[in-house]
Amino acid sequence: MSTLDAIDTCLLRLTESMEGSLQSDSLQIWNELESVATDLLKRAILDGSDGETNRAWHLKTVASTRTTYLTSFQLMRSGKYYEAWCKLEEAEISLISLKRNRIYQSSEFAVDTLAKMVKNWQSLYPYAVFMSPEFAIKREECSICGLVVDPWSDCKHEPGIVYRGKECYRIVKTAELLGMSLVPDPVQKYSVPFIKNDQGERHDHYDYTVVSFVVDRLRSAVSGWTPTWTKAYHPHELFKDIGPEDGCPCGSGRQYGNCCNSNRGVLRPHIEIEFDERPSALLPNVTLAGYKERLSSEKSTWVDSRESDSQSNNV
């Protein structure tokens, strides 16, 4: 079989696995497809034309991105939220590469749909600040031609662009670490700050209620869902330990007694999730995130007081 025929066969298999945009959620199938596409890319690099090699790269990246996403979903299902977060970032980076090096229409492999799903998952995470390093970069080289990259360099390659099946990036050869900061919008999303326990081990202190709420209610990794961020009144019972002269838990900066205390609740961030497929009736359709240290009985009271026949669920 020629390289071109092999590419067409691989393309057909990928397309069949994606019939209806996001159908197959079998990690086994996608691992197999990734393996086939990886072999195809190796072969194309050896004997294919530039166009064939880049098409093979595209197919391999489609398959590996899908594998990464499905792995992330499985990790969320098993409660390994930070590990899942790192996989989501991997998928996000690959999706940017795919969009930047478009060969097929992005709708063909649901690239835009998957990018939206990754973004939706990331929006549910409780991480608000990240560690971010600052470097003085004194020398860097091109991953494609190996030349030094600076304004006087003869290197013509552009980072993020694929050349003969290989994506161009910069390799920093000499750098000086200047500092470390906490930022809300990091370059590296994996750099989440954790606290350490008494034994010096990493302790994950974050509250993943919202993530688990969604992942528990999805039938598969490719089931559709849409989050809507809004605000809702949270019952005053949840804030019994806050005095009227303390800061209002709505975050306005005013005193609780002069702010939300006279309202029917405290106006706080709220998220509604619309599931494309109805979640199991055994699961509650409302939950509270961020109050687990405070109380548990009121939670069930509030949950029970909500309507339960809607396909839209609240967190």
Partner: protein, 182 residues
């Protein structure tokens, strides 16, 4: 933690072309090119202790893009090759280097920046913040400095508006009288 989402600061500056051609990190042929350049990329001075001249990460690629979009214009970087250094900063935002340009050349530069901003928006819709410092040389040697941080899609409109407004104000004023700030 303070995370600025949008800011524009315009000031008069006495750091003219001759200033950038005579810094300690530039000499010889490079200085001559600075004096002759249509578009000049200048470093951040003393941005970090012990680093007199630095450029934001990605300056090399930015310069290439600019040269590709404006092939007729002479684009130069104001530093000797051996002292070129980029700084990778915190946070996911696009930082472009400081550019010096004459008022006459400004529309061409704005067109090129519009193209670059479009590319950014296409790749990262709704989340692309751009930071850039622009020095515009007006009549009689007056220079204004526009420091912009905000959405990519507001960039070029803001730069054009501020440059036009502030340069016309300075036209009848003796050079370097007082600094004005918006």
């Amino acid at each position: 933690m303070n995370n600025t989402l949008f800011s524009v600061d315009v000031s008069e500056t006495d750091k003219d072309r001759e200033y950038w051609a005579t810094r300690s990190w530039i000499s010889g042929e490079a200085s001559r090119k600075v004096r002759a350049a249509d578009l000049l990329v200048v470093p951040w001075e003393d941005f970090r202790e012990g680093h007199a001249a630095q450029f934001p990460q990605g300056t090399t690629d930015f310069l290439r893009s600019l040269a590709r979009l404006l092939p007729e214009q002479a684009t130069t970087i104001a530093v000797n090759k051996e002292l070129f250094e980029e700084i990778a900063l915190h946070g996911r935002q696009t930082r472009w280097p400081t550019i010096m340009v004459t008022a006459v050349m400004l529309p061409l530069l704005v067109n090129a920046l519009t193209e670059l901003a479009k590319k950014l928006i296409d790749e990262h819709p709704n989340e692309q913040t751009v930071q850039i410092n622009l020095i515009v040389e007006g009549k009689h040697g007056h220079c204004i400095e526009i420091d912009y941080k905000g959405p990519a899609n507001d960039l070029t409109k803001t730069l054009t508006e501020q440059a036009g407004r502030c340069l016309s104000r300075l036209e009848n004023k003796p050079r370097h009288a007082t600094a004005s700030k918006k």
